[in-house]
Structure formats: C-alpha cells, structure tokens
Amino acid sequence: MAYQFDFQPVFAQGDRLLQGALFTLELTALGMLFGIGLGIVGAVVRAWRIKPFDMLFGVYVELIRNTPFIVQLFFIFFGLPALGLRMNEWQAGALAMVINLGAYSTEIIRAGIEAVPRSQLEAAAALAMSRMETFRHVVLRPALASVWPALSSQVVIVMLGSAVCSQISIEELTFAANFIQSRNFRAFETYLVTTLLYLVMAILIRQLLAWIGQRFVMRRR
C-alpha cells in the first residue's frame, strides 16, 4: 500500500489555517510594536550609559539572547504561576515575543545610535534644537534608518519562531496545522501547506517592512 498524497482534507480546513495565520500575524504585530519600543528605550539607556538601568538592560539582553525562545515561553507559562504570576496563553505568548524581540532590537538599535557621529550632535546643539528634537531627528531617525534591514530580518525571525507558541495552546498557524493533522491524520500534507503559508507570510512581511522603511524611516527631510 504505497502512500497516496491527498491534499483535499487539508484544503477543506483552509478557513482554520487562514484564521491561524491571522493570529500569527497579530502576535507578530504586537511583538513588533512593543518589542521595538522596548528596544528603543533599551538602546538609549545602553548607548548613553544611563545608570543603573544600563546594567539591568545588559543583563536582560544577555539572558534573553542566550536562551531559546521556547524555554522563555515555558518558563513564563508553566513556571511563573509558582510565584503567583499567572497569565493566560495569549498574554504569556505576547509577553514572550515582546521580551524576545525587545532584547534583540536593543542591541541592533544601540549599534545604530552609537554609529551617529558626535559632530551631528554638536551641529544640532549649534542649531539650538531642543533635546527632544535632537533625539528624534538627529539620533533616532538616522539610527533606525541605518539598522532598519537588520531590524526587519529580526521581525521575520521572531514571526517564524512564534510557531512554538502552539505548544502552550495559542491557536496560531502551527496550532491550526497540528489540530487539522490530529483530525485528518494527513501529517505531511498539512505541514507542507502550512510551511508554504509561512513562506508567503515571511515574504510579505519583508516587503511590507521594506516599504515602511522607505516611506517613513529613511525618508529624506
């Protein structure tokens, strides 16, 4: 009895897959928004050595970057309730994504900020720009512009990594695939279709971020 490929049972569940893909995108968007926000704060604190927070952010960045995402997720979801900190799976998943992307973008954006030449700051001071204006136009914008490609790839990596969120019962794309597979027993076909969906999403996110980068971040004044 040779194995007969049959994709029909997978496509019959197309709605469920698309719903899952949507949740993956939502998680990613949430992670991106707050993760990069956290990254900007962390980067400034680290680049300008604001004590004692630079130390704290340093430890945070090292802890997160040197442990797997799935372990962070399990620790938050299964481990933290022992300390009385209980979150539902969506909160735990979103928190893990924000914390994870936050650590990476701290390092990425910091590199951008440190690459801003001193002379630029002096020039801004000479133009009597306020601290806030200086930060926005002279530091942050050029820093983000120079690291935007790196930041974009990191967002895609985090989106793909979110596949393991299925393990704590978040109903994202991989969860949908596992669910369908456990009902129709067509493991290979289901995962193949799901993989292609992820690929399409990765390409779309990359394009979207490239567009955002050109339109808003690297825009000339």
Partner: protein, 216 residues
C-alpha cells in the same frame, strides 16, 4: 518515585549532552553544506545561483519547527527510516547551512572587486581565486558572525524537543511533570542554555571588536 535535586540536575545534564552533540553535528555538517552553497550562490552558472537562492530563501523563510515536522514525517513516507535524532540533525544541518551561506556570502562580497580583477589577471581559475585570494580574506571577517550564529544553532536545537528528541528542553518538560516543580526545572533548563551560549556570544563580541580595531 521521588526526585532529589540531584536527580533533576543529573537528568538535565544528560539532556544537555544531547543538546551539545546535536549542536556540534548541525554546525559542522551545516558549515560544510553552507560552504558548498556559497560557491553555488556566487557561481557564474545562473541555474545554480537561482537554485541556491531558492534553497536559502526556503530555509530562512519558514519556521524551523515546520522543517522538522516535514523532515520527520515526510522522509518516512518516501520509505526512509528516520529517527527523531536523524530528522533533528538533518533539519538543523539544512537550516544552519542556509544561514551560514548567507552570512559568508556577505563576507565574500565585502572583499573589494579589485581583488577579483587582480587575481583573474594572474590567470587563476575561479576556484583558485576563491581558494587563494578571496576566501582567506573573507574568512577573517567571517569568524565573528559565524561564532555569533553558533548561538542560534544551540538555541535552535530546543525546538527538536517537539518531535520527541530527548535533549535539554524535552528532558526539562518530562522532569517538570514528574516533579511538579516547573519553576525550578525550567529555570535550570534556561541556565543550561545560558552556560552553553554565553561564552559563544562573548567570544563573538570580542572577535568583532578586535577586527574593528585592526581595520580602523
């Protein structure tokens, strides 16, 4: 069936060994495959270039977890016997090769065009150019990002727990359930990865700094 702290640590250390072994296999085999990919990616033969690009795009654009599932359930449909260990090693190797190829391509392309021109004027073949002129220089700038990426490989092995490979994370999951101490167990698991990864991150940063210092 009572677990002492030592039972937990002892079992986690066994899991850690598998994590380490899997990381080494993936990194070494992935490195070799990655090198071949760089050649393909920079080859003058267009179909080869396109194939290498598609390969890299595919493995960088899909979750490692899906690659594992496909490898695990797919290969056995082709009549090949695949253990969780083999599927994990193969999937991680392919994953690693795609990323390393892309990192190394960047390094090769950072070598000034003049080096290619000079070496071709010496009537070197393309392979000789790569072997004697380009790669030795590219290697110097490649060391830091390569060591940095090895951290991603070690962390990537954690995902193989989901297809049932008993490495550190899987051992942790089993222990968390058998002992009912998830906070302690996952804390120790995280510590295990940190001990493996931090020295690598640290070394990568050091190497990068040294390189920048000599370049300046």
């Amino acid at each position: 069936m009572d677990f002492t702290l030592w039972d937990i640590v002892r079992n986690l250390l066994t899991g850690l060994q598998w994590t380490l072994l899997l990381s080494l296999v993936a990194f070494i085999c992935g490195g070799m495959a990655g090198l071949a990919l760089v050649f393909a990616r920079l080859s003058p033969i267009q179909p080869l270039r396109i194939a290498a690009r598609l390969y890299i795009e595919l493995f960088q654009g899909t979750p490692l977890l899906m690659q594992l599932f496909l490898m695990f359930f797919g290969l056995s449909l082709l009549g090949l016997e695949v253990s969780a260990w083999f599927a994990a090693a193969l999937a991680l190797t392919l994953f690693t090769s795609a990323f390393l190829a892309e990192i190394w391509r960047g390094c090769v392309e950072a070598i000034p065009q003049g080096q290619w021109e000079a070496s071709s004027s010496l009537a070197m073949t393309r392979f000789e150019q790569m072997r004697h002129v380009i790669l030795p220089q590219a290697l110097r700038i490649a060391v830091a990002p390569t060591v940095g990426f090895s951290v991603q490989v070690v962390k990537g092995t954690a995902v193989t727990s989901i297809i049932g490979f008993t490495e550190l994370t899987k051992t942790g999951g089993m222990l968390a359930n058998a002992t009912f101490k998830p906070f302690l167990v996952y804390g120790l698991v995280a510590l295990g990865y940190f001990v493996l990864c931090y020295p690598l991150s640290f070394a990568a940063r050091r190497l990068e700094r040294r390189l920048n210092a000599t370049a300046a």
